[in-house]
Every structure is written in structure tokens, then in C-alpha cells.
Symmetry: C2
Subunit: 425 residues, 2 copies
């Protein structure tokens, strides 16, 4: 009997009417003959409310007590969904993190799942009972542990891996993964399939469909993840037949389409949440760059793109100097400037210049591995429109450029056309 995991987010859980609609959708999978585990988020807004309480109660909060408080949101929705399923005549019970158990490491408030014991779960599923599992929570050493914000996607993928589910359906506010943001490019296409690697690059650069950690886990465990819309009513067709987006391994992609059919580029992402920092006249000597980035790393600041301009009179002996430019998350900009200011004497730079009016544009696709010229086409396309590239970074399946924030939409639009991603009119 096929096993599937269904995951519903906070919007789907916001109120009894919606929970009833979720129950109806789960019932259809059960009626179709699947063994079903459902992973649920807290009601929309509830986790924020609980986190607010904790912050108010104690500025430097104990993460173990924080977890006791915030895990309650998913506890409530898991019990309510079990009740709503029973009301439809579907046998169901909730399994809290400590009951299964879902064992995590000791990093309370941002724990990682180490192991899910499926003995009890297997017995329950075998009887045809739906297992309703609160996302985001587990247990460590007899204490409640949570996975950090957005952890319910990760819970769902971990449960799917543990129970050997053939599919993990993630019901979300969007109906799939698009070639780019449809608000910018109305002719963006929904992708039928995307690889884990592409999804990771698209997610980390701004396509906020799935939590990055959950995609990484799905890739590691080989869990097939389907992104589906939760916004259609209970009368929508079965999940398996809905045109959502399947996130799969590259080998599954290869089975169904050859390299010619597959687009070179899968999608284009943009991210306006980075800030650019430039240090001028950094001494051109060995170790200078390390003296910039080590203290930032110590402060937990995630530096993304880095470019070191050609040094003025570079001889590598410290007599020349160079400009160093890099990006950090905008939220970390004040802290970054503080760290750099305190290190100015040691690093020896002249000035620090920062700019938040930048955007990172990325073209992503496994197809570029076997095709040259992807980056070149990007620079040419942007150059023809007069868009200045301020920084570049690349990976095996991605090319990212930093540009002026005002040119974000234009850049996305022209690249979407240039790589042949527009739908036929």
C-alpha cells in the first residue's frame, strides 16, 4: 500500500473551517488507498504570538523553555486535525514529538532531527489510521525541542524518509515552483520538475517556496517532494494528479526528458535583501583578506559574494593596496559595520562604503553543466540594456550578479526572455 506524507502550513491551519478542508483532502488520499501521515504547522500567526511572549518574558531566554512555549502551536493543530478527521469517519490520532518520538540533537530552538522511531507509527499506519504529526518539534533528553522557524517542512521530509513514503506533498501558498517570480514576469512558467540542487539555489536566492533545510534533507534522503497549492478548495482534484512541481533527483529528470528538451536554464531568482560593503585601500599583503572575513565569521555573519578588485600597484608585499567588496544580509549590516570598525586598525583599510540599494540576480539550472556560454549570455544581455554588473559569483549550476536594485525587474524580464523561458503567448 503506497505511503505518503502530506504537509500543511499555517495558512491551511488558520481556523476550524480550513482544518476541516484539510481533513477532507486527507480523506481523499485515504479513500484512494494510501497510508497517510500528515505534518502540520501552527495556525498562521500563532508562532509569532508565542515567540513574542517569550521575548517579553525574558530578553535572554532559555531555549529549552522557549521550546516548551512555541511547540504548543503545532500541538493544538495536530489535535484539532485528528478531531476533524474523526468527524469525517477517518481513524486518526496525533503523535507529539515526544510520543513517536522524533529525537533531535541538543541545539534547543534550532535543533536538528537525528532519528525518528517508526515502530509505533508503522503499527498505526498498518491499521489504516492517519498519523497527525506536529511539525517543528521533537524531543531531546526528555525535553521538548524545536527545529527553528520554518522547521515543519523539514519535519515532513524527515517523516517521509523515516517511513519510506513514495512522496512528500507540501501544500503551500503557491501552486508550484515557477521559472521566476510571476509578479515580475507574467509569462513565467510553472515547472513540472526541478532538481534538489536547482531548488536549493532557487530557494537560497529568493524563491521562498520551501525551507532550504528541508530541500537539503530531501536530497540527502532521496525523498520526492511535491509542492502543491493549498488554496484550492476541498473539491480540487487529487494531489497526485494536481499540476504542482515535483522536486526530484537529477536521475529522475534524466529518465523523462533528454538534454535537448530540457531548458538550459531552469529559473531566474532575485534577492533584494543583501547589502554591499566595500573596503577601500586594503593593504595588498598575504593575510589581509583573512583579517577582514575571520572576525565577520566569528560574529556569525554570512558573507555571500566577494570580489577583490585588481590592486593598485600590486606587488604582494604590502606596499600596494586594493579595494575589497562583498555582500552580507541587510539585517546583519549594522553589526558588520561595527565588527569592521573595531578591526580597522588591524586590517588597515582606508574607508568603508556600504550600499543597500543592490539586488542579486541568479540564473539557475543543471543544464548549464554541459553547456558553455551561460554566463556570457547573461553579461551580454544585461550589458545591452545598460545594466551595470557590480559583482559576480558562480557555482556549478548558478551564475549570480549584483546590480542596482532599481534594475531588478528589468534584469529578470530580459534574462527570462533571453534564456527562452517565456511561455508561448
Amino acid at each position: 500500500m503506497p505511503r505518503i506524507v502530506m504537509k500543511f502550513g499555517g495558512t491551511s491551519m488558520a481556523g476550524i473551517e480550513r482544518i476541516r478542508s484539510v481533513a477532507a483532502r486527507v480523506k481523499r488520499e485515504v479513500d484512494a488507498g494510501s497510508q497517510v501521515a500528515v505534518v502540520v504547522s501552527a495556525m498562521a500567526g500563532e508562532t509569532d504570538r508565542l515567540v513574542g511572549f517569550c521575548r517579553e518574558a525574558s530578553a535572554l531566554y532559555d531555549p529549552r523553555e522557549y521550546d516548551v512555549v512555541v511547540a504548543s502551536g503545532e500541538q493544538v493543530t495536530s489535535g484539532l486535525l485528528a478531531l476533524a478527521l474523526q468527524a469525517l469517519g477517518v481513524p486518526a490520532r496525533s503523535w507529539l514529538g515526544w510520543q513517536l518520538p522524533v529525537r533531535t540533537d541538543a541545539a534547543f530552538a534550532k535543533a536538528r532531527i537525528e532519528e525518528i522511531d517508526t515502530a509505533a507509527l508503522d503499527r498505526a499506519l498498518a491499521t489504516g489510521e492517519v498519523a497527525v504529526i506536529p511539525g517543528f518539534q521533537g524531543v531531546h533528553d526528555g525535553r521538548v525541542a524545536t527545529l527553528g522557524r520554518g522547521g515543519s517542512d523539514t519535519s515532513a521530509v524527515a517523516v517521509a524518509a523515516a517511513m519510506g513514503a513514495e512522496r512528500c506533498d507540501i501544500y503551500t501558498d503557491v501552486d508550484g515552483v515557477y521559472t521566476t517570480d510571476p509578479r515580475i514576469v507574467p509569462r513565467a512558467r510553472k515547472l513540472a520538475k526541478v532538481t534538489y540542487e536547482e531548488m536549493l539555489e532557487l530557494a537560497s536566492v529568493g524563491a521562498k517556496v520551501l525551507q532550504t533545510r528541508s530541500v537539503g534533507l530531501a536530497m540527502k534522503e532521496g525523498v520526492r517532494v511535491q509542492v502543491l497549492s493549498s488554496l484550492t478548495g476541498p473539491e480540487a482534484p487529487m494531489a497526485a494528479t494536481l499540476p504542482g512541481t515535483m522536486i526530484v533527483g537529477e536521475e529522475e529528470l534524466g529518465e523523462e526528458m533528454d538534454a535537448v528538451e530540457r531548458q538550459l536554464i531552469t529559473g531566474i531568482a532575485h534577492d533584494k535583501n543583501e547589502a554591499k560593503i566595500t573596503l577601500t585601500a586594503v593593504p595588498d599583503r598575504p593575510g589581509a583578506v583573512a583579517s577582514i572575513f575571520a572576525p565577520l565569521a566569528d560574529a556569525g555573519i554570512n558573507v555571500d559574494m566577494i570580489i577583490q578588485n585588481v590592486a593598485h600597484g600590486a606587488r604582494g608585499d604590502g606596499t600596494g593596496s586594493t579595494d575589497v567588496t562583498f555582500t552580507v544580509p541587510q539585517a546583519d549590516l549594522p553589526r558588520s559595520l561595527d565588527v569592521l570598525g573595531r578591526g580597522q586598525a588591524a586590517i588597515g583599510f582606508a574607508d568603508v562604503i556600504h550600499d543597500t540599494r543592490v539586488a542579486k540576480i541568479s540564473v539557475v539550472g543543471v543544464g548549464m553543466r554541459s553547456h558553455a556560454g551561460v554566463a556570457s549570455r547573461m553579461f551580454t544581455t544585461l550589458g545591452q540594456r545598460g545594466i551595470n554588473v557590480q559583482a559576480i559569483s558562480t557555482s556549478e549550476i548558478k551564475v549570480s550578479v549584483l546590480i542596482d536594485e532599481d534594475e531588478t525587474e528589468l534584469a529578470v524580464r530580459v534574462l527570462h526572455t533571453a534564456y527562452g523561458l517565456d511561455t508561448a503567448e
Copy 2:
């Protein structure tokens, strides 16, 4: 080192400011050298909200899932109080029902505590850590179980018994137990001490200070319970010196005051939530009364006062007839009438008359055991004011009468004076 339990209700937990104030009060007990366990209710209104969700999700709800949902309210406040204590520099942690554990029977949604394991609790208290325990919840067979509404008082008394606390302080909306409702009799006095038995009679007839079950448990376990006001600010004097009401065994009462000093009557309670039912012309034969009350008992309806009038031409052979009057909770009146209507042929009564405009007035006191004339004075006092007594019931330490609801306040006032309970002006 003295051990105490402090229990705070939903009003004291309604918001972070109040939780901080509770933390400050707990800190003073810790600073004074006590080992402290705190039992908390959910934020005021939260349990109602959660119960509402459950009712909406499923009309015939599974009590085990209901418990998962409603237990979350106390989970949240226990974590928040632990955080607020830590913020004051007081070591603290929450202990959920399944963590201690607090073991209950299998009656989910209205479970009874069977055993509290104190091994972990003892170790924690010995280190000076405050144990914050969510009231109302326990665990049975690995599932969350709740004790039914108002169960937090019972949790507090059970924890106090298990850990051998010298006192269980219940912080509530009132500042103690009064001789009667001060809204009716402004000269009502606050009682310094009251026995468990008196408290049970006062509580069950309308003085809603403590949950009845918790008083019964305190009596059984010999836990000294103090009722205190939670409404005074954090700068109020220490709990032990506050003039609340101590609820104790009769032997402790005897130690401190002899029978002469002790008032004959401890308090006067009233209850407007009963309904009177009269069945006319019930055949006067053996078994007739049983045929009335057995089906009511089967329907779970709690009959309180019963009077059988003198039979008309009673010969005990079924040829005479009699009227039978009794009271039931008003909420159960429709169901009672339904049960009686269906049994009319079998019982053989002529008519059923009901009246919700009645009130039960009770005078309560252990002193009446050794003094005759308490009931007589009650009837005389009421008779002098023209108040008609419709029914009477008595116990060892209580006399109750049923009167017209409109005369409730007058009856309470004149009885309060007649038994010498008024404070000196």
C-alpha cells in the same frame, strides 16, 4: 528547608506583566528560604478558546485529542513563568505532566491523578531550582490527559501532598473565604480558618473559591491549603503573613480555639442554580420512589434535596397517593423533564410541576455537631420574616432550605445576623 506549593489561576497568568508579578512573588518565597513548586493555570480565556476549537472541529470529540489541544494552555504559561523567573535570576524549569510524570487514570478529559513521581522533582528542588508545573494535566499510557475544568487546584494539592509541602497557597480572585457573600452582606467576615468539611459544604453550595475536588483531596491527604488574593501587587507582604484563609483539619482548629470561642455556624451559602420539580399523585406503594429516581440517576442527573409529602390516605398498599418534590441543577431540568415524561406511565404520577425561581440557603459549621437548635433557629428566623420554606435537607454540619428566589438576599442577611456572624460596626 520548608517546602511550599504556590498555585496561580488564569487571571494571574493573563499576560506577561502579570506573569512577571507572579515571578516576583515566587522569588520572595525562594529568598525566604523555601523550596518552591509553582502550579499554573492557562491564561484567562485560553482554555475556553481551545475548548471552543475542539467543539467546532468535532461534535463528539475524542477526549484524548481534546486533551492534546486543551493541555497546551498550561504548557505555555509554565514555560513563560520559568522564563520570567530566570529573568529575575531565580533558577527555574517547567515540568510538563508527561515529564514528572503526573500519572492519571484513563478517564481522558476528566482524569484523576493516581500518582506523582517526585524523584526528579526532589532532585530539582534540592538544588534550589523552582519547579513550574502546568496544572490540569497529566499522562496516561503515554497520552496527554487532563483533569477536567478547574483541575489546576487539584493539581496543586496533589503536588503538595506528593512532595510533602507544609502548605499549598492558592492565589485566587478573592482574598479568602467569607462567612457569606460580601456583596449581599457587607458585614461578612473573612474566616481565618475553616475545616475541609465546612469548605466542601460551602463550595458545593455556591461559595466558588476552590474546586470541590481539590478540597476533598486536601482533606484525604491532610494538605494545609491557604486561599490568598492574587490581586495585590508584587509589593504585598509575604504569603505566610497575609491574612488569607487557611483550610485545615478539625484537629488543627481545636488546637487553637476552644468550642466556646468558635462560632456555632461558620458560614452561610446560597445557590440559585437549582430547579424544583414536583410530581403529583404518585401512587403510595413500595418502590414508587425508586421508579422516579433510578432513571434520573442512570441519566447522570444529580438529584439534591428530596421531600415526600404526607400521603393522602396513605396505607402503603398503592391505593393512596402522595406528592414528591426534589431539586436538580437548572442545567439538567430539560433532560430531567424528558426522562420523567418517558417514565410517566411506569411511575404513575398525575402531573409534573417545575419551578426555577427557587434558591437554596445553607448554614454550615462543624460547631453544630455539639449544639442543638441550629435548624430550629433557622426556621424561626425565616418564619419571623415571612419566608416560606419549601424543602429542607440536613447533613452533620449543614442545614439547607429551599425558598423563593426573590427572598435569597433577605434570608442570607437575617440568618447572618441571627447566628452572630456580623462584624462589629
